[in-house]
Symmetry: D2
Subunit: 284 residues, 4 copies
Amino acid sequence: MKNSAILLISCKDKKGVVAEISNFIFKNNGNILHSDQHIDFETNTFFMRIEWDLTGFRISRDKIIEKFKPIIKKFKIKYELKFSDYVPKVALFVSKYDHCLIDLLARYRAGEFNCKIPLIISNHPDLKDIAEYFHIKYYIFPITKENKISQEKEELKLLKKENIDLIILARYMQILSGKFIRHYKNRIINIHHSFLPSFAGANPYKQAYNKGVKLIGATSHYVTEELDKGPIIEQEVIRVSHRDSLEKFIGKGKDIEKIVLARAVKLHLENRILVFKNKTVIFD
Amino acid sequence: MKNSAILLISCKDKKGVVAEISNFIFKNNGNILHSDQHIDFETNTFFMRIEWDLTGFRISRDKIIEKFKPIIKKFKIKYELKFSDYVPKVALFVSKYDHCLIDLLARYRAGEFNCKIPLIISNHPDLKDIAEYFHIKYYIFPITKENKISQEKEELKLLKKENIDLIILARYMQILSGKFIRHYKNRIINIHHSFLPSFAGANPYKQAYNKGVKLIGATSHYVTEELDKGPIIEQEVIRVSHRDSLEKFIGKGKDIEKIVLARAVKLHLENRILVFKNKTVIFD
Amino acid sequence: MKNSAILLISCKDKKGVVAEISNFIFKNNGNILHSDQHIDFETNTFFMRIEWDLTGFRISRDKIIEKFKPIIKKFKIKYELKFSDYVPKVALFVSKYDHCLIDLLARYRAGEFNCKIPLIISNHPDLKDIAEYFHIKYYIFPITKENKISQEKEELKLLKKENIDLIILARYMQILSGKFIRHYKNRIINIHHSFLPSFAGANPYKQAYNKGVKLIGATSHYVTEELDKGPIIEQEVIRVSHRDSLEKFIGKGKDIEKIVLARAVKLHLENRILVFKNKTVIFD
Amino acid sequence: MKNSAILLISCKDKKGVVAEISNFIFKNNGNILHSDQHIDFETNTFFMRIEWDLTGFRISRDKIIEKFKPIIKKFKIKYELKFSDYVPKVALFVSKYDHCLIDLLARYRAGEFNCKIPLIISNHPDLKDIAEYFHIKYYIFPITKENKISQEKEELKLLKKENIDLIILARYMQILSGKFIRHYKNRIINIHHSFLPSFAGANPYKQAYNKGVKLIGATSHYVTEELDKGPIIEQEVIRVSHRDSLEKFIGKGKDIEKIVLARAVKLHLENRILVFKNKTVIFD
């Protein structure tokens, strides 16, 4: 694996933006590994993900933004700069369902995710032994209406201490406060067990069952203050029929929850997602 | 193709119902070709679709119900009796979009549907030449707020005259009145261009586009008085991405609209659908 | 959950077979819970899966076949009789890949499978700690060309001792001998990591990658003496593109391997599969 | 719609290629609308599709290649240059099946394809009336073993006369000679009614039915001299079960044949396909 830099960019579309960015990298002896762009013609917005090999690149990492500044100013660019050898720290939030947790940790151990998972936070003790088996710290923060705000404060303290970059709600059955969410804007990924926007809120499988749909879905999205309304990252569906009881809906749904959540996590960790106006641009 | 009888049944589940029905057919020298049943354990309701060869069957068609009466009474059965050699008469309702219409008529001509389509009704003249090419009568009933009720009356008169059994709304862009619908309960199939219950009502592709979903869908359902809320017959989805403009959403969506509508029509014409509490039981 | 009996049946199609079987159950006070049948018109073969509640059934389990004999003889029926409260014993065979093993064991622990898994057999020690975590015995039988036959003998001895009903090859990378397979006819389920019959044999992902297919697949099937040619139970595919490296093919493939294998195991354990002429009839 | 130029490029990957190409366009006052690239790391090959607005571009169309020459030479680039306002001429080849033909022509009339279809060639008269309805010339070239070479010569003459750019085999049931194919390298698209490489050759649905697969597929590909072995453009599958007769396989298959062929045609007409070593790179 090469060490590379990844630039995620958005700005008003204007002549020359691709050329100037490509040139900036080339002139400084960078070899472009991937470059993908997208223009939203409705809003005339330009998006780009460009990744280049750092071997032989003439600018040191900490100086890249400084040297890139003139282009940023010229095109009024919003940017994020990432390095492929940076290993993000990830915290998992869980409650009692274990299927997403085991799936994520098995993938993690198999090397599917470029991250470090130092800890799991839960409002219940139930999944502690899974954490132990995978040698990951497990913190229990029971949540009640009364203690929610103080518990979230403690959680935040812990997350800061561990330098957490990304939070994954792996079927965490508590609603996070707006205050908490603002600390991790576009850095909390949730899996909702329906094909959003259908069946937001509680008991989506029950809702789907009662409605008599012929396909059920799962949706991974960034968490925003409006419940189940954040930018969608990935969705998948699976066929059901009248023969499927509610229990079968839940069983089939679990299979796609795991896949949809894992895909979203991978996309985020590979710096392939740009959020724009409550939608995602995904450079895959 | 054998001439067969098809019995669609629902009743409270009770010991012996399968045995008595099977026996009734067997004793009268009928050979069962297909038999499928389903129990809804929540409501303890029994559903059955049973089809038997009429060759050598000892009861003439018009006497079957009479002879079957004791079983109907014993189990308080709701039933429909159909004959495979009956060719239902179907009316298509269209507006300006032609993709579903052409697709249905091409399938019809290729023999995919066991039905006769004597007429097309439209509120616009646009698709008349397609009707002509396929040698089907095309009636234009322009609809305004003012004339809607009187036009529907005329339409109903025409439908009765032609002995229409089934109405297919192949992207018909008018909302039918409750009065009209009651004449064809569970006999009007609509195609809605979204994955219901998401994006009911107008402009579903625009809604889906704005929401940033990663899959778009189509739903065929029986029309009820509540708009886009009738029993779902079939659904399908197709993947979209941020690269797809609204126009691409519409283009991709058309492909699944055609398939989903055609599947629903086929299921209905083969007498495979039972409606129960705003859901469908589909014996496929 | 009710205790029920399940009869899986095949015979030449003949008038009265459904009626006589239904009647037999009804007369003896059995309540039919599910009944599904299928006729293969090419070979005129009748298949049935019928399940009835044993509560109040007048024939004791061990006498059912005896009492059912006249019908068996009359229609020359091949049958299997199963009881829903029987818990089959299952052995898992693995090598070094852990994704299917962990997935199966997590589902097992979550109660998705009606079975007992007393042991895992492997030709490598690598996955021992997973077995330990799930408290399942792990036996290592290293396989070489020379010791294969004697090792299989030992394995068979162990499987008999543990009364194993079903063997699951969860990415087991050894080819079983015909002799071994004959001991477990239609009772060994394999997962092959391609959309069979494409890419049978070694390195299917490499083959698929070189061919440039746009979808890759996974296939679960019963093991027969011809490699990767046994009756197919379940298949699934996932989209790939030129952007996907061979490693990505393998990663995406793993996701469907897990699902396809788990579905096949479930279908087998619920006695929903009949094998007929190297194909499966699946009563779902 | 803007008039744009599209450059499809492949070469050995080397530092600076993106930058130099982007720069070339920018310096000459072109606004890049889309730019997508791909590196095949196995062969170290660089692929690019770049599209720019011609409004205000300082080089006239016929001079672009000349001015671009230095970059072509420096990187040893293979290229194709296309213009979005060029309307390719397309010939359809058909035999007796009408589903793909009607579907393509209905899409064509609805404006889905950027092309002109001046003629249809068939070895049978059966589909002539469809051609007439859509006002397209229909030429009949009956093919026998004896006259095949001379008939192909006549066909080629006609295709040249009409300046045909692309040939679509819409279920054309004749095998084209190598000689014919060489005239239209990577410009003949076929639809094969199986999930290739499974079930190449004759009667793929029958083969699939006999094998007992649980999904059937369709594959669109460029025609090469080896039958059904050309570069795959697009594939899709649909679920089948033991309940589906061979006729149902064929019916379900038709639905995906139409979609898969239409997608491939669209990709080709939008200049999104690069062929490399019997595989396709698809810039979607």
